[in-house]
């Protein structure tokens, strides 16, 4: 490879300049010495050789040794070039950085959700998860979930046959160490087959076997991730055989996994325990694996690509339906079908979470922001290059070579591109972290917000964008008709290209409108959702409860007594208006109990079964639930409360349509039990969600009633206006005093509601942030274009001012011209927003993409801002002294 030989020589010279000179000197001296020996005299020899200095220089010029000088000179020149117009450089770098950074940030989220397979899984393409489609919701809309119970898994395994490689797992996050104060650890209870299905091997020790995972007799063994071993166990090989305390349970570490595997979910897992070792809910009777109720397992299968998905799905669907029929008789066929798909949440067939849907749309708006940024950068650089035509023509006339000029301009662009890439990486990193915290705050990510692929991609696109945006004007500008440009740099010389720049401004305005309309719609939705009357005075409500470590809960009677005492102590304290107790905070969960009303059994009500809430008489006053008829519970002075029930309006209408509910009664648990009279009817409040499509039936039993299950451990405090902080502190203190062994917590109701408002808040926040970003970029575009145009027309303005044109006329004219361009863009943007609105329609509440108020408001805002952006340069131009303007060229 001859060019390689040449390159090696050149690089060698470049890297060892000292050796190069020394060797050339030595060689020439040798030559001259030999020549002196053979020549008649020293003079003749010297003449024969010629000037050693000169030839040394000539040889040196042929090497790349002068390259650093040339490059340095060019770099300095280019740096001077870009720092001569610092505001332009900043604008271009800033615009590109924001546009690209926003994209990289959203890409990193979407990559994690949809694209990247979980690390460390062998052949992710043939790994499947089983999904179940149900239609058990109230409104009959089917939903799909990956959750199974153990009997379903057994049926699935039988249906798939002994050849199938299946595994079952469930996640948990117990506290590390004893008590509730230690950090939480993400654990996976997995069947022994899990490791084989995923292709995992131990780096140290071993994995657990099927024997150690036998139902009813699990071995207390644990396998940990490599990351956990390194960060939490100091990478010590001696951890094998040592205990791992997870709450009340002690496991023995038997192995460390090889490779980066940390589970299949976004939230990384660190410890794997035998599935048989799960802690089932305490209220399950009999072995959990025979129960329908731990309904939270996920089934994995290593797929054999030769098999048909459809046949397998049909087989499993039939098996599960048969199981359903056999176990729940009356509610058969609530399961529609089994599906085999990706085991990953975002890629499975379930309806995507709102956060996920928003993430995808944010990806879309990030692209729009990038297009706006590109349009702006091209616009700025075009204007700048046109403005430099005269300088460039002058330099060409002074003899700079065209090659050097293009090199300088390219280098300027490259420098800007490099700065933009650097800034974009910064924005991407910060933005990626912010977006993660905003969209998926519950995930503690195993990977940085910006991985090297995304970083490389961002830097690449930044370089490419800046180069493309910079090179077009550079090439155009380096090839001017010299004399013409020199002669007439002033009036009108840039006007020909202003059509392209107007189009770019229009595009920016249109896209900004689209994003701002989206922001407006989300803000309106958020306001609509937050403005809903959910039936509670949520602003003043605090809930206090105490958590205990598994197995160390105090007896229910003691808890009830302590809770009653706390209630009594808090009553009447400053900042506290009402104190009550309940089984669990509203909108936090619900519980069913069996009841009978007349001849109807609870089962015949099907999906609309009313739920029970156990509350003290003060609960209604505390929460602000209004009484519609009758009365609430009679406060009991001592002992068990009276046997009374309060129903909500929805329950009354469901059970006794057209009849007076007062005087009706309900039998609990068994038809033979005494009928409990309905003493009051309260309004129907939200039961599970802020946005409930139907009113949900609920009835209330007094805490301590013999039909109730709960001891009423949740203390409800209605704080005085401005008294939430003191009320919260007092409640927490009382809880801690009464239950020193537990972990007391006080939660404002607004916090429980926040997860309901979150999707709308997210949409509003993100669309507003991007919309404002787009607006700022678009305004910069409008401003710079008009500034440039006006500068080009300084001469014209001078003439007109000299001829007596008023300042108002000139400003009106310039602003009018600017607004004409912008309003075309706004019109296009409004049309695009209406057309594209269906992409977010499903995420809105109480408003629609065509909302005229939002459209009009956004159009008005954009025109107003554009008018301001145009007025400033116009005003400056109109103030120019005609003498100066006319003399300028």
């Amino acid at each position: 490879m001859s060019w390689l030989d040449g390159l090696r020589h050149r690089l060698d010279t470049l890297l060892h300049p000292g050796r190069y000179s020394a060797e050339l000197d030595e060689e020439m001296r040798h030559h001259q010495d030999l020549a002196r020996m053979h020549a008649p005299d020293a003079d003749a020899a010297r003449r024969q050789f010629g000037s050693a200095t000169r030839y040394r220089e000539q040889a040196r010029d042929l090497t790349w040794l002068h390259l650093p000088d040339v490059v340095g000179q060019d770099l300095r020149g280019a740096w001077r070039g870009i720092t001569r117009a610092p505001s332009l450089t900043l604008l271009v770098v800033g615009t590109l950085a924001l546009g690209l950074g926003a994209n990289a940030a959203t890409f990193s989220i979407l990559d994690a959700l949809y694209l990247r397979p979980p690390a460390g899984v062998e052949d992710p393409a043939t790994l499947r998860g089983w999904w179940i489609e149900h239609h058990r919701t109230g409104d009959g809309v089917p939903f799909t979930s990956a959750a199974l119970n153990y009997p379903m898994y057994r049926a699935l395994r039988e249906a798939r046959g002994p050849e199938a490689r299946l595994a079952l797992y469930v996640r948990d996050d117990p506290h590390l160490g004893r008590g509730l104060l230690g950090p939480k650890v993400d654990v996976v209870y997995a069947s022994a087959g899990y490791f084989g299905v995923l292709g995992l091997r131990p780096a140290l020790g071993r994995l657990y076997t099927a024997d150690e995972d036998s139902l009813g007799a699990p071995a207390a063994v644990a396998v940990v991730s490599d990351a956990f071993w390194r960060s939490k166990l100091a990478g010590n090989p001696a951890v094998l055989g040592t205990p791992l305390q997870l709450g009340p349970k002690t496991f023995t570490i038997i192995g460390v996994l090889d490779g980066p595997f940390r589970g299949l979910d976004l939230q990384p897992a660190d410890v794997w325990l035998p599935l048989a070792a799960i802690t089932p809910p305490s209220w399950i009777e009999g072995p959990w694996w025979e129960s329908d109720n731990p309904y939270y397992f996920h089934a994995l299968e290593r797929w054999n690509p030769a098999l048909s998905d459809v046949a397998a799905e049909a087989q499993v669907t039939a098996a599960l339906r048969a199981l359903d029929q056999q176990r729940s008789g009356v509610r058969a066929d609530t399961l529609l079908a089994a599906h085999v798909s990706s085991p990953l949440e975002a890629r499975g067939p379930a309806k995507p979470r709102a956060e996920q849907q928003i993430a995808v749309r944010v990806g879309g708006i990030a692209v729009i922001v990038l297009v706006i940024a590109w349009a702006n950068v091209i616009n700025l650089l075009l204007a700048h290059a046109l403005g430099r035509r005269r300088e460039i023509a002058l330099r060409l006339a002074l003899g700079i070579s065209r090659a050097r000029l293009v090199r300088l301009l390219t280098l300027e662009t490259l420098l800007i591109a490099g700065l933009a890439a650097l800034a974009a990486l910064g924005v991407a990193w910060a933005g990626g972290n912010a977006l993660r915290a905003l969209l998926l705050p519950e995930v503690s990510w195993a990977t940085p917000a910006l991985d090297w692929r995304a970083a490389l991609f961002t830097a690449g696109v930044a370089l490419a964008s800046a180069l493309v945006a910079g090179l077009i004007p550079a090439l155009q500008a380096s090839n001017p008709v010299l004399t013409e440009t020199l002669k007439s740099a002033g009036p009108g010389s840039g006007r020909r290209r202003s059509r392209l720049r107007s189009a770019l401004v229009m595009l920016q305005a249109a896209l900004a409108v689209v994003l701002l309309v989206g922001a407006g719609l989300f803000v309106q939705s958020l306001r609509n959702v937050e403005g809903l009357d959910i039936g509670y005075d949520s602003g003043q409500l605090l809930f206090g409860d105490v958590q205990f470590e598994e197995g160390s809960e105090p007896p229910a009677a003691l808890r009830a007594a302590q809770s009653a005492e706390i209630m009594a102590r808090l009553q009447g304290r400053p900042g506290i208006e009402v104190v009550a107790r309940t089984a669990m905070p509203p909108l936090y969960g619900f519980s069913f109990t069996t009841f009978y009303s007349g001849a109807d059994s609870a089962g015949s009500l099907g999906v609309n079964l009313p739920t029970v809430a156990e509350v003290t008489p003060e609960f209604f006053q505390a929460t602000g639930i209004r009484l519609l008829a009758g009365r609430t519970f009679t406060p009991s002075t001592s002992g068990a409360p009276l046997d009374e029930v309060v129903v909500n309006d929805a329950t009354a209408r469901l059970l006794w349509p057209g009849k007076d509910p007062l005087g009706q009664c309900l039998q609990f648990r068994a038809r033979t039990n005494p009928c409990v009279p309905v003493v009051g009817v309260v309004e129907t409040v939200r039961r599970e969600r802020v946005l409930e499509t139907e009113s949900k039936g609920q009835f209330y039993l007094p805490v301590g009633s013999k039909w109730a299950y709960s001891a009423g451990e949740t203390i409800v405090v209605r704080a005085a206006v401005n008294g939430t902080a003191t009320a919260s502190a007092q409640l927490l203190e009382e809880l801690r005093r009464a239950f020193p062994a537990g972990l007391a917590r006080v939660t404002p109701m607004t916090k429980n509601l926040e997860r309901e408002y979150r999707p709308y808040r997210l949409g509003a926040t993100l669309f507003t942030a991007f919309g404002l970003l787009a607006l700022v970029v678009a305004v910069m575009g409008i401003y710079s274009t008009i500034t440039y145009d006006v500068r080009q027309r300084t001469h014209e303005f001078g003439v007109r001012v000299a001829l007596g044109a008023g300042m108002g006329t000139l400003v009106r004219q310039v602003v009018g011209e600017g607004l004409r361009t912008v309003s075309l863009g706004v019109l296009a943007g409004v049309a695009a927003a209406v057309a594209g609105g269906k992409l977010i329609a499903a995420l809105l509440y109480g408003t629609a993409p065509g909302n005229p108020v939002v459209l009009a408001a956004v159009a008005l805002v954009l025109l107003l801002v554009a008018a301001l952006a145009a007025a400033l340069p116009a005003w400056r131009a109109a103030r120019t002294d005609p003498v100066v303007a006319l003399k300028q060229d």
């Binding site: 490879m1 001859s2 060019w3 390689l4 030989d5 040449g6 390159l7 020589h9 050149r10 060797e23 050339l24 030595e26 060689e27 020439m28 040798h30 030559h31 030999l34 020549a35 053979h38 003449r47 024969q48 050789f49 010629g50 000037s51 050693a52 000169r54 030839y55 040394r56 000539q58 040889a59 010029d61 042929l62 090497t63």
Partner: protein, 115 residues
């Protein structure tokens, strides 16, 4: 002695001559110069120092390689070796040289020298 010693040779000729010389085997700078002087019977007068820029050019384009060794007199010297692409290049140069000479000879009405 001409005022400009370079004017004796057309550009690129010296490189061609050096390549041709190196087909004899690896040589150091002085040996190349000696060979050129002897073979051309002193007709091609060139300052010997100009050999070094020419060699640098050949090195940079990979037509020759250089290696330090010991000369017959026992001194350290740099020996140049023609590479495969150097030989190829030399062939091309000689062919185009022949074509030029033939053309010039024809224009001058001289007999075409047999090559």
């Amino acid at each position: 002695m001409p005022a400009d010693p370079k004017s004796d040779l057309l550009p690129g000729t010296l490189e061609m001559l050096v390549l041709r010389t190196l087909t004899l085997g690896p040589l150091h700078g002085y040996a190349i110069a000696q060979h050129l002087a002897q073979v051309s019977d002193g007709v091609l007068v060139v300052e010997q120092g100009s050999l070094y820029p020419a060699l640098e050019r050949l090195l940079g384009s990979g037509l020759v390689t250089a290696k330090w060794g010991t000369s017959p007199t026992g001194r350290r010297a740099r020996f140049y070796t023609i590479t495969a692409s150097g030989r190829k290049k030399l062939g091309q140069e000689i062919a185009s040289f022949d074509a030029t000479i033939t053309a010039i000879a024809k224009v001058l009405g001289r007999e075409v020298p047999a090559s």
